[in-house]
Symmetry: C2
Subunit: 300 residues, 2 copies
DNA sequence: GCTTATTACGGCAATCGTAATGATT
DNA sequence: AATCATTACGATTGCCGTAATAAGC
């Protein structure tokens, strides 16, 4: 099975007759005819049948056509990729990230990327989820890492933004070691009800937590902070129990000597996904698709 | 650029050295070397460079490798497709549909499918959205058409069901011609508040409507029916104003002589998508992928 | 000296084109 | 008679393998 044969196959379908296909391909009619016979013999299936003096697709041909076209499209993409390397463009990637969450992933992935593309410039933009989506839409940002709930996912679908989930923003509770709950490894929802809860003031993560807590926790039982760092400082002073993404903790790597304790949540979870997102469009430069590939490759 | 060259390229990367790749491919070392030089000359880029006595990928090679692999994978799929036609399996497609909504689409698409696959049996299963998802998961159903809100979409994402939006379940209001509102072409939300509203009793569509209406319409102002047909009968008797998917109306083709009037909704919409869904898996038979292709092809 | 890649060269297979034949309208 | 596909056949291309050469460890 040769590329040539697939191209001939596709062209015959495209132009209707072997004659015309041959003309468009600048080859003789017997060549195309012979190649198709060859192909049919090799795969053991008829692709065309005679209808009058023309040829038309058989049922088998109809079934296989899209698979052949998929190959030819992949070839076109390779050719595009080659010409991109030969004629390099600006070479700037504007990467949006929400503050902190999973920021630990970025340096690792960027290191990997820079090895292949030492000349591509990556601009890191920290911003809120909605602002990031806005910037993707008006083309002042190329790709981003955000945390998304289902509302954000619907919003993205409606506005033509594609997302790939790369991990979950599981939550943990954080308390001071001198807090009564510090003796546990896990805690359940009911144990939270009488505690003072410390949360980050805004963002999708807070929104989800609020949805979950609902009216069960009275509003004056909540401390709001602007950053997770501040939340941890409050915990350190034993002012309450903080709920935050596990990834924040692992990114900050609280060590053994720390005065705070991490508690896993037994019976509730914030359903937020860490997503790699980008605007849906017809064409992406090769360095961008490879950038995406590296970031959405979660095999490590 | 020949298939052979791409295969050689891929194999060298896979096996590390030209020697081993040549051995695995049952060809001589000079052949593979020559083909790679040929390929590099053609595309004008170095793919490998010497490192000691071995060859390693250049930066360009690293960039292009995934594109080449995409081609080879597409070829594998074609080969799989061919062998499927040669060794046909059971050939049964179990298609789930939710009652009524967009059922008008099914016969049209099935007709198209049967032309290519006269021997494949299609079993139509009418069921509720959640039951359909359940059946997809336990493999008693292959594909389905449902209406999904964002909650259902999240559910599907979590449970490994893929969905493709093929249209929107826009809602319209339906009133008797003798109803006071029948003089309008469009109505707004505020005009609904004092009306008796007729809705289907259950399902995702009802769920969405309930979410939207919230507490603004008092509960005793709602009539529930089991089918949209019944809703229309109630409207016919001027018992209230029904809200239902536009697709139901167009499927049933209410003609000119009808005593009911369709009103478009000016300032609110149910955000439900008609989705073609299937379980994520490694392998789909060719007739199934073509079935999906036909159903998700919205160019008509 | 052993391993790995590249060059040189002859044999063989495969593609292409021209010309002739076949089939349909 | 005109259009479109297929068969026949010779010329050319180009792939492959063996053998020889070059380069690392």
């Amino acid at each position: 099975m040769e590329m040539r044969q697939l191209r001939y196959f596709d062209s015959i379908v495209k132009y209707g007759t072997m004659r015309e296909a041959a003309a468009k391909l600048f080859i003789s009619e017997p060549s195309i005819s012979q190649q198709i016979s060859e192909l049919q013999k090799e795969i053991g299936l008829p692709l065309f049948e005679k209808q009058g003096r023309n040829v038309v697709l058989t049922s088998e041909g109809k079934q296989l056509l899209p698979l052949v076209q998929a190959i030819l499209e992949a070839v076109t993409e390779l050719e595009t990729g080659i010409s991109e390397i030969l004629n390099p463009g600006s070479g700037l990637i504007r990467l949006g990230v929400i503050p902190i969450t999973r920021l630990d992933l970025v340096p690792k992935k960027l290191t990997e990327f820079v090895k292949i593309y030492p000349d591509i410039c990556v601009e890191l933009i920290e911003s809120g989820t909605l602002e990031i989506i806005e910037r993707l839409l008006n083309d002042t940002m190329d790709v981003a890492l955000i945390a998304a709930n289902s509302r954000i996912k619907s919003l993205m679908e409606l506005s033509g933004i594609k997302y790939k989930v790369i991990s979950n923003a599981n939550s943990v509770a954080v308390v001071s070691c001198s807090h009564p709950l510090a003796k546990y490894e896990k805690i359940s929802f009911s144990q939270l009800l009488d505690e003072r809860i410390i949360l980050r003031r805004q963002g999708i993560y807070r929104e989800e937590i609020d949805n979950f807590l609902g009216d069960s926790v009275k509003h004056d039982g909540i401390y709001s902070t602007d950053t997770y760092e501040t939340s941890i400082k409050l915990v350190d002073s034993n002012l309450g129990i903080a709920i935050m993404p596990e990834t924040f903790i692992s990114a900050y790597g609280l060590n053994e000597g720390s005065k705070i304790k991490i508690l896993f949540l037994d019976d509730f979870q914030v359903s937020l996904d860490i997503c790699f997102i980008y605007k849906k469009r017809n064409y992406y430069p090769l360095y961008l698709t490879n950038f995406m590939r590296i970031f959405t490759d979660t095999h490590d």
